[in-house]
Symmetry: C2
Subunit: 334 residues, 2 copies
DNA sequence: CCAACGTGTGGCATCGATGCCACATTTGTG
DNA sequence: CACAAATGTGGCATCGATGCCACACGTTGG
């Protein structure tokens, strides 16, 4: 299977290969007349640019690496969709890799991306090693959704603290004073921020927070369900789940116990995903604008690649939005 | 930013570039001793292969194009996740493009993939032109989820007819004789198959199907909702929605009307997605094994690329599975 | 003891596009 | 009208890895 090259187009159009290259792909001198002739010739013989050759010669690439944990989680899917949309508009391609939140997989993927000579990578980092290694090799990095200490690279985050605070305030405003928080991790900025917002709202309202109401669990609906069961022993009148996966477990447990939401207990979640408005009652949530988060990542990365940004590290914080639905209501009387 | 090349490794290890290439990447003669020395040298100076150079020279690539409609739809996300999983295991990369089911976008993406010299593409085709064009250019194509007439290429499908038939039989078995079908398209094999299965079940049960019960709508939850409203005028005792998006609309409308599911009306859907088991009552569905569908696509494509398959076009049909949940029950008495 | 062989290594051209420079041609200016 | 500047075009080397061939060994068998 032999495809035509610039040489062939040159012969067909009666010009030199250099001219073909200029006329078709790179900007630079080429008279309108020649441009048309070259374009016609290329069209006629079915010429298609070879990205590998171009990338090799010009030491660039229009492929961008995207490293996420799990495409099946709507959060990551939305993020990827936003990224892809923006990249496509800029004539870039997205190389998507699932790392299953496994440091080894993440590192392997990063090495592959290095080999592809991608100019940039967007990653929801598992380990600081990965972004750092990429940067050490001259690849621009944007960390999405979380910030790892000393990982380097630009960052795009949801303003977790503000979102969690607002959500908690909403519940406090409804008279809840024993609010349970279901959370999986607090080492990354994501969980840490949400926890901080939760605490801050208590402080602001002069409420002492019973530490037993903070229920640590693992990133898994089934585990969240068991943890919810334990948490209910602490007699909360409302539960906040720190992300969409944990919310599934919490909801399952509450329904299983036939607890009336929100009459007997309120439920709310960080990270709005579609099913949350389909269940009955629909869940009060914090919408992270995940697709927009993805778009921001891509825009930021492209700006970096084009060297339009000052050297200084940039941190973009996307304001979340509280969506009040039916799952939160006044605290029941004790 | 200058990275080490095979030349540098060769110098470091005291061998020739050819030997480095053989020792590190290609199979071929290289004594264990030299292999180790080369590996050590590469490690030491931080050498990373350049895929562009390799691809150019060897006229291959380990990137695979994946062309889908909408990553935000869990069906496509699962498909992509399955594909990526299998590709990653085989040391291939996934270049993912959303075409928004737009023929022009699809074609543009296909051209980009040609330029990348990918050896294969997995596509949920919008137009037969796209797979055909790719094949004309020597790219292996696997069509996922649907078959377009004369599009060429291998195909991986859910056995839509069998699945729809089984689902319909389940409802007929519950005593339903007026079953509404909410469907968006019947031109592609997907919709056509589901409709055929729906009809076949009626024939098998000696039921005459009232054509007014087949409600055509567009691929959009809001439209599906309006169509459901109209469909209810035909007095169905059960509704089947042909995919997960339409199911959202149908459910919303039934809930809005405060119809008791399944006491007053049963609801079922083709294409199981997570929210369907979270709502109350959980939806009876047909699980397409979407992730496995994706894996199959990737395996098939890789086998093609490795030329392990006979020339003849292959059609893989993945058997779906009926999952009975709470949303379907006995037909109400007339 | 020498031919035939197997094994491991190096040399060189090559994949296709493009950056850079030299040069030809046209246009503008004093 | 001459000379400088602007505008196009072609030639050639180059990006980095690898396929292919030639060849230098050491081994085996007649």
């Amino acid at each position: 299977m032999k495809r035509p090259t610039v040489q062939d187009v040159a012969r067909e159009a009666g010009v030199s290969p250099s001219t073909v290259s200029r006329a078709l792909h790179t900007r630079g001198y080429a008279s309108p007349d020649v441009r048309d002739r070259v374009r016609a010739a290329a069209e006629k013989i079915g010429y298609v640019l070879d990205h590998n050759a171009r990338n090799l010669r010009s030491r660039t690439s229009t492929s961008i690496g995207v490293l996420i944990s799990d495409l099946r989680n709507p959060f990551y899917a939305d993020l990827a969709a936003g990224i892809e949309e923006e990249l496509r508009a800029a004539e870039y391609q997205m190389v998507l890799v699932n790392d299953n939140a496994d440091p080894a997989e993440e590192m392997r993927a990063a090495e592959t991306l290095l080999a592809m000579r991608v100019p940039g990578v967007i990653v929801t980092p598992v380990t600081a090693d990965c972004p750092r290694m990429l940067q050490d090799n001259g690849v621009h990095v944007v960390c999405a959704d979380r910030e790892l200490r000393r990982s380097g690279g630009d960052v795009v985050l949801s303003d977790n603290k503000a979102g969690a605070r607002e959500l908690t305030e909403h519940l406090i405003g409804l008279g809840h004073s024993r609010i349970g928080l279901l959370i999986d991790e607090t080492k990354w900025s994501t969980g840490a921020g949400r926890l901080a917002g939760f605490r801050a709202a208590h402080v602001d309202a002069d409420l002492t927070l019973d530490e037993n109401l903070i229920a640590y669990t693992s990133f898994d609906a089934e585990a969240a369900r068991r943890t919810t069961r334990d948490l209910l022993g602490q007699q909360p009148t409302a539960i906040i789940s720190a992300n969409n996966v944990l919310a599934q477990g919490a909801l399952a447990e509450l329904k299983d116990r036939r607890l009336k939401i929100p009459r007997q207990i309120s439920l709310a979640a960080y990270d709005d995903v579609p099913w949350m408005s389909l269940v009955e009652p629909a869940l009060t949530t914090v919408d992270q604008h995940t697709v927009e988060l993805g778009r921001s990542c891509a825009r930021l990365l492209l700006a970096r690649i084009r060297e339009e940004l000052p050297t200084r590290r940039r941190i973009v914080r996307v304001a979340p939005r509280l969506i009040i639905r039916g799952s939160t209501g006044p605290a029941p009387r004790a």
